[in-house]
Amino acid sequence: MNFDMPPAMDRQDLRDLKKSIDLGFRDFSRAYGDDLEAFFDPLLYFLVWLEKLLLATPWPVILLAVGVIAWFGARKWFVVVGSVAAFLLIGYFGMWKDMLATLAIVSVSTLLCVVIGIPIGICMARSDKVRSLITPILDVMQTIPSFVYLIPVVMLLGIGKVPGLISVCIYAIPPIVRLTNLGIRLVDKEVLEAAQAFGASPQQKLFGVQVPLALPNIFAGVNQTIMMALAMVVIASMIGMQGLGQQVLRAVSNQYLALGFMNGLAIVALAIIFDRISQNYGKRLQKHLEGGRDE
C-alpha cells in the first residue's frame, strides 16, 4: 500500500472526464451562445447608451450632477466639495473618459444587482426552504475565485462589455441578497403582529411594514454591492471591460508604476465617494428609529 498519496483516478480517465466536460460545455455554448447573447442585448444597449450619454455630457454638467447627488444623498458640505474635487482631479490627470466608462459599468451593474437581488432576498426571508437553497449558492459565489467563473462566462458570451458586466454582478450581488433577507427577518415580530391584528394582507405586511423597516439593512447591502462592483472592475477588464480597470491591467503588464497608481487611486476615490454618499443616505433613512426630532 502506498501512503504518499490517497487513491486517485486513473490519469487517462481523468483526462477523458475533463475533456468530456469541456466538450459538453463547448457544445452547449455553440448551441445556445447566440441566443444568450441576444437575450443580453438590451443590457448591452443600455450600457452603451449610458456610456455615450456620460461622454456626450459637458464636464461642468457632470460636476454639477455629482455635487447635487452628493448633497441630496449626504446633506453634508464636505462630501459635496470632496466629490467634486476628486472628479476634477481625475479629469486633470487624464482619466476622465476611463472614469466615465467605469461609472457607467458600476451604475448598471449595481442597478442590475438591486433589481435581481432584492426580490431574491425577499423570497429568502419569506421561506426557510428558499433560504436553505440560496444560502449555499451565495457562499459559493462569494468564495470561488473570480477568475474561475470568468472561464464559462467567456466561453458562452465571448469577450466584451456584457460578460464583464455579468461577472461583476456575480461577484457583487451576494451582499444585497443577504442583507435584504436579514433585514426582513429582523423586523420586530410584535410590530408585524400588530399589522396582522389590523387585518393587513401578506402584501400589505411586506410593502407596508417589512420592506420599509428593512430599508436600513437593504441600503447597507446596496452600499456593499457598489463597493464590490468597483473592486471587480480590474478583474473584469481582463475580459475586455473598458475603464479605469483596463488601465490598471495595462500598467501591471507593462510595469508602468505611475499609470497603475493613478488609475488605482481613481478607483479608490470613486469608492469613497459612493460609500460616503450612500452611507449617509442610509443613516438618514433610519433616523426616525432613534430619538431626536429631525429637520
Binding site: D188, E190, V191, Q196, A197, F198, G199, A200, H288
Partner: protein, 345 residues
C-alpha cells in the same frame, strides 16, 4: 341570542409539535408540568369558558405565564385554538376563510399592545391612520378621523413626531388612538398600561374610562394589577396555569375568593376603599337611621357614621331602602375573608 358579544367555549390550546394528540391527556387532567416533562408540550389554555357581555369591560388577570396573552390572541385569531369555539356576536370565527378573517380584523375588532407595537417608520398621524388605510377609507375621511382621535387622546401638536421621539405614555396614547380610529366594536387590550409609570398609568386609565363612557365598546382588558382591574373592570376573570379559576364582579372576587390563588391577588387591597356598602350590608331596615347611598365605599360610610355620631344607617338605592349597615359589620368586613379550603399557592 344572549347579550354576550364574545363567547369563548371550551377552548384548549397546547403548544408543541403535535398538539391535537395531547388534548386527551389534558382532558384527563394531566398537570402543566407533567405535560411538559412527559410529553414535551406546553399547556397554554385548558377548557376556558368565558362570556364577555357586550359594552362592558372584561378584565382578565393571572400571574405571568398563566395564559392571558394566549387567550386574548384567540379572540382575533392571532392564535388558533387546539380545540374549542370562539363566537363573536354569535358567529364562530374559526369557520372564517382568510379573506373573511381579514375583513373581521379590519372592521370588527382592534387591539392595543403591551409594548405599544407602533410602526416605527410612521409618524403619529400615520400610525393612527394605519387601520383606516387598510380599511381603504377615503383620504379625507382618514385625515379627519385621524385628527379627531389624536385630539381625543391628547396628542394635538405631535402629529408629525415619530414614535421613538415620544414617552411611553404618549406612545400608548397613539396605540389607543390607532385602535379606536377603526371604529371596531370590540377592543382587545393586552396589558396596555403595564409598561408605564404608576402616575401615567392612572392617567391612561382615566383616558380609557372617559372614552368608554362615551363609546361603550366591548373591551377585553388584561392586567396583573388588581387596583387597575378594580378601577376599570365590570367583570374580572382570573386565570391560573391556563385554566379559569374564578369569574365575577370585582366586589364578589374580593369578598368571596374561591381559593388561595385568588386570595393572594386580593390580599393587599385596601378593602375600605374598594368595597361598596351594598356588598356587605345586612337585610332589614333600621328605624330612625340616617341614609347612605348604596355605592359608597366602606371608608366613606364609616366617616359618615362617625360624623353623625351614630352606629348604624340604612342603605338606599334609587330612593328605596335596600338594607342596613352598622359600625360593627362595616369594621368586620374590612378584615380578609377565610378561604374555603384549597391547596396553598
Amino acid at each position: 341570542m344572549s347579550d354576550a358579544a364574545v363567547q369563548i367555549r371550551q377552548v384548549y390550546k397546547i403548544f408543541g409539535p403535535n398538539p391535537k394528540s395531547m388534548v386527551k391527556h389534558v382532558k384527563n387532567g394531566i398537570s402543566k408540568q407533567d405535560l411538559m416533562d412527559l410529553h414535551g408540550h406546553v399547556l397554554g389554555l385548558k377548557n376556558v369558558n368565558i362570556d364577555v357581555r357586550t359594552k362592558e369591560i372584561q378584565v382578565i388577570m393571572g400571574l405571568s405565564g398563566s395564559g392571558k396573552s394566549t387567550l386574548i390572541r384567540h379572540i382575533n385569531r392571532l392564535i388558533d385554538p387546539t380545540s374549542g369555539e370562539i363566537l363573536i356576536n354569535g358567529q364562530n370565527i374559526l369557520n372564517m376563510t382568510k379573506a373573511e378573517l381579514r375583513t373581521f380584523r379590519r372592521f370588527s375588532i382592534s387591539m392595543v399592545f403591551q409594548k405599544f407595537s407602533l410602526l416605527p417608520h410612521r409618524t403619529v398621524a400615520a400610525n393612527v391612520a394605519y387601520g383606516m388605510e387598510i380599511q381603504k377609507l377615503e383620504k379625507r375621511t382618514v385625515s379627519e378621523r385621524c385628527q379627531k382621535w389624536i385630539d381625543r387622546v391628547g396628542l394635538t401638536g405631535f402629529e408629525s413626531y415619530y414614535p421613538a421621539q415620544l414617552s411611553g405614555g404618549m406612545q400608548q396614547r397613539v396605540g389607543l388612538a390607532r385602535a379606536l380610529a377603526t371604529d371596531a366594536d370590540i377592543l382587545l387590550m393586552d396589558e396596555p398600561f403595564s409598561a408605564l409609570d404608576p402616575l401615567i398609568r392612572t392617567d391612561m386609565q382615566d383616558v380609557l374610562l372617559s372614552l368608554q363612557s362615551e363609546l361603550h365598546k366591548t373591551i377585553i382588558f388584561i392586567t396583573h394589577d388588581l387596583d387597575e382591574a378594580l378601577r376599570i373592570g365590570d367583570d374580572i376573570a382570573i386565570l391560573r396555569d391556563g385554566s379559569l379559576v374564578q369569574k365575577g364582579s370585582p366586589q364578589n372576587i374580593i369578598l368571596n375568593p374561591l381559593n388561595n390563588y385568588v386570595a393572594a391577588f386580593t390580599k393587599d387591597i385596601n378593602r375600605g376603599r374598594v368595597l361598596y356598602i351594598e356588598s356587605v350590608m345586612d337585610d332589614g331596615i333600621a328605624n330612625d337611621a340616617i341614609k347612605i347611598q348604596h355605592d359608597t365605599v366602606i371608608d366613606d360610610a364609616l366617616q359618615v357614621l362617625i360624623q353623625n355620631n351614630t352606629t348604624y344607617a340604612n342603605v338606599v338605592k334609587n330612593r328605596n331602602i335596600i338594607g342596613q349597615v352598622s359600625l360593627n359589620n362595616l369594621i368586620a368586613s374590612l378584615s380578609r375573608p377565610k378561604v374555603s379550603g384549597d391547596s396553598p399557592v
